[in-house]
């Protein structure tokens, strides 16, 4: 039976701390680990079962792209079983510093992307992951990475205005997609396979045929871009992007209404596309908030969730057809990324203060009388 999900019940379940501000975060496809990238060029892996923290060292710059290759979760219930064993151990031995080794994680590969233009492959479930392969993918920043639904193709994008496809198995280049006229900020594969979306600094979203490399159409997310004439610079781009599980919708998150790019005066927003029709509407926080939306996702229960920061941190939830958020949660620090847990009960944000916060979305059990 699926648990009850209620955004208004969202609260911090766990905080994972790191000494350096975080830049990105992703749950792995089995939901065992939370990976968080940091300004110290590392990726930190937090074990949701044991709390163990493992550093993945190999990048020489910031990582903002994290994606996974592997078989999705099989719902074995290992987490519940493990929790039961821990409870029994503590009951027998007391709440001392006794830890129970976690179950062996299911295997998967992590592909991470950095601001020196590199992609690194890792064995994500290894006890102490080391780089398996490094590919010089782009000239300048790699801003995002995604893996195709069949797990065979990795897509990357970056400041060289290119989208590139790579073989997931061995990192060999497959194809280069040219056509963006500005830095490409994000990529996402359509869940049905076959199509890839990419979005650039100037708000152009391209719809590519993965097999042929042809661009079928451009979609307009230009509300997310602005040339600031006072400071004479461009601000914009889809800081986060993703398809709904059924592929019917595409969300691009960023900043709108910019009046001062160099002070970050603007508002977070999500451009929500009807993928088939190509039309869009803009989702905005109901509360007055200054900042940028840095993470976005579609919850299987049917709501859109985004996270951002600027004047503090927030997570916003949109339900139904209302363009104004239905609920918001204050986060202790600017939220720089958002990830949804595969089991749908949790989400996590990467904090500018070095904390990765895991929020539960299930209502608290009523207190026993």
């Amino acid at each position: 039976m699926l648990p009850t999900i209620d955004p208004t019940a969202a609260r911090v379940e766990r905080e994972f701390k790191h000494a350096s501000p975080l830049v990105g975060c992703r749950f792995d496809l089995h939901g065992r680990f939370l990976f968080a990238s940091a300004q110290d060029n590392t990726i930190q892996r937090f074990d949701l079962l044991t709390g163990a923290k493992t550093a993945l060292v190999g990048h020489n710059s910031w990582v903002r792209g994290l994606a996974f290759v592997g078989t999705p979760a099989n719902g074995t219930g290992e987490a519940a079983a493990y929790a039961g064993r821990v409870t029994a151990l503590h009951a027998a031995a007391g709440f001392a510093a006794v830890t129970l080794p976690g179950p062996k994680p299911q295997p998967f590969t992590l592909v991470s992307a950095d601001y020196h233009g590199n992609l690194i492959w890792w064995q994500g479930d290894a006890a102490d992951p080391k780089p398996l392969r490094t590919v010089k993918a782009h000239d300048g920043w790699v801003r995002a990475v995604a893996v195709s639904p069949d797990g065979r193709t990795v897509a990357s994008c970056g400041n060289d205005r290119l989208v590139k496809l790579w073989a997931a198995a061995d990192g060999k280049p497959v194809r280069t997609l040219e056509g963006h006229a500005a830095h490409v900020y994000n990529v996402a594969f359509h869940p049905a396979g076959g199509r890839l979306a990419s979005a650039d600094l100037k708000g152009v979203v391209k719809d590519w045929d993965v097999k042929t490399g042809a661009c079928g159409r451009d979609l307009d997310a230009k509300v997310l871009t602005k040339y600031d004439p006072t400071f004479m610079a461009d601000i914009g781009g889809a800081r986060a992007m993703g398809f709904s599980g059924d592929g019917a919708k595409l969300a691009c998150a960023g900043i709108v209404n910019v009046s001062n790019a160099f002070a970050g005066v603007g508002n977070p927003a999500v451009v929500l596309f009807d993928w088939a029709a190509g039309t869009s509407k803009v989702l905005k926080p109901k509360d007055a908030f200054q900042g940028t939306a840095w993470g976005v996702g579609f919850h299987p229960a049917g709501f859109v969730v985004a996270a951002g920061g600027g004047s503090g941190g927030r997570v916003w939830f949109w339900t139904g057809d209302d363009a104004a958020s239905a609920h918001a949660v204050t986060v202790p620090a600017n939220a720089r990324d958002l990830t949804l847990h595969p089991d749908g009960t949790r989400l996590a944000v990467a904090g500018a203060n070095g904390s990765a916060l895991v929020y539960t979305l299930t209502p608290a059990a009523p207190a026993k009388k």
């Binding site: 020489n60 601001y115 400071f231 004479m232 610079a233 601000i235 620090a333």
Partner: protein
């Protein structure tokens, strides 16, 4: 156009930059008898010096340019790249500049005291902290005064900046309006420069005579610095009009225009070179903007992407034209940016430890002076201030910064006497 007949005939206004030539051995202070010999004047004409200041407005990040700290908690995501000078690395956003490093000297130990835009700019351009009771002239006015030739065709001091990014500045102070900056907004000629179509030479001369008569009559009872400035602006406009072609960069080879780039800064820097070639003594070209409190790294990609290639092109062009040895080039801001990265990926105002780059006349290319600690939070070796830089500019130009100006007979040192030149970067 004759000078207004009410122009005062004080020693200041008869001042000649020849009196300050260290090379001429002139020991006399400024005064009517302080002219160098004809031989020295001929030598000066042959080696006319000029100055170009590239002002990166808003406060460029030293960590993204001249003093990168990759792999530290203040370093940010960019790498440091090797340059043409072995052992010297600069930020990865300056690949073309890196190839020019043999011509460039770096001062990495600058402490300019004030992290404020306005005060910082004054400190950097006057070589002094603001003081009550005296307004010091900017280096542009000083250069125009000391290096300019009498009766030169073009103004001695020009400031090129983007529209909306500045205005006319009171930068000549007691040196007088003749040496104040002429604003060239958006790279366009001064407003109303060109004679209206249909107005003949004779008609223009008659209207100017009328203006002169009215000005003289007005000034008999109301002479002031303001009226003198107004009059001088006409004189400058006329001088510029005679060389209006200099503003037309379409006269350049299209390949040259392409090397500088068609964005504002590229065009303005190319115009700056043309102005120097046409005889302007001091040109300041401002690039806007670097005040990156938010998303510092993205914006430095964009702004330095505009700076890097034209700056390299400029140095090549000056060298090709035989002008680099007689043109002092300075790249500065009003301040640097904090090593600490804030929670919006920005860097804030910072004056305690940052960098300036110099090239050209009198400068030892490839030299690096001053060091900061691992995180760039403090100067650890050879800390200098704006006064030291001011002395250095003047020494590099062959001028003696220990001399005085004498506005209203009051001695005012040209440069801050508490400082001296950074000899490590002087030839």
């Amino acid at each position: 156009m004759p000078a207004c007949s009410y122009a005062c005939h004080s020693a200041n206004h008869r001042a000649s930059r020849r009196a300050f030539l260290g090379a001429a051995g002139a020991a006399a202070v400024l005064g009517p008898a302080g002219f160098a010999s004809p031989a020295a004047a001929r030598e000066l004409a042959k080696t006319q010096k000029r100055v170009l200041v590239i002002f990166l407005a808003g406060g460029v990040s030293q960590l993204e340019t001249w003093d990168p700290k990759p792999g530290t908690d203040t370093g940010g995501p960019f790498a440091a790249i090797p340059t043409a000078v072995p052992g010297t690395r600069i930020g990865e956003l300056l690949p073309h500049t890196a190839k020019q490093m043999k011509r460039i000297a770096l001062v990495r130990g600058l402490n300019s005291v004030s992290p404020d835009h306005g005060i910082g700019e004054k400190i950097m351009l006057t070589g002094r902290k603001p003081e009550a009771g005296v307004e010091y002239p900017h280096i542009g006015a000083v250069s125009a005064k000391l290096l300019g030739a009498d009766g030169q065709a073009m103004p001695g001091h020009v400031h090129v900046f983007p529209a909306g990014a500045g205005g006319r500045s009171q930068d000549a102070t007691f040196l007088g309006p003749k040496f104040a900056s002429v604003p060239v907004v958006g790279g366009k000629p001064p407003a109303d420069l060109f004679r209206p179509a249909g107005l003949t030479d004779e008609a223009d001369r008659q209207r100017d005579d009328l203006r002169q008569k009215l000005s003289d009559k007005f000034a008999k009872s109301r002479r002031s610095a303001a009226t003198e400035a107004y009059t001088e602006s006409f004189a400058q406009a006329e001088r510029v009009f005679r060389k209006a072609d200099v503003f037309d960069i379409s006269k350049e080879d299209p390949k040259t225009v392409a090397r500088y780039g068609t964005h504002d800064f590229g065009r303005h820097l190319l115009l700056g070179r043309r102005l120097l070639e046409s005889g302007v003594t001091y040109v300041k070209v401002s690039h806007s903007n670097y005040d990156t409190h938010h998303e510092n790294f993205d914006f430095h990609i964009e702004q330095l992407g505009e700076f890097d290639r034209p700056f390299a092109a400029l140095l090549d062009d000056l060298a090709d034209r035989g002008m680099l040895d007689s043109t002092l080039v300075v790249v500065m801001s009003e301040m640097g940016r904090t090593p600490k990265i804030n929670d919006r990926y920005g860097r804030d105002h910072w004056s305690a430890a940052w960098s300036v780059a110099l090239a050209g006349c009198g400068i030892k290319g490839g030299a690096v002076v001053g060091k900061t600690n691992a995180g760039g939070t403090a100067v650890t070796d050879r800390e200098v201030g704006s006064g030291h830089l001011f002395h250095t500019y003047l020494r590099a130009l062959g001028l003696n910064p220990t001399k005085n100006f004498y506005p209203n007979e009051r001695p005012i040192p040209i440069a801050d006497p508490k400082a001296d030149a950074i000899t490590e970067i002087l030839l």
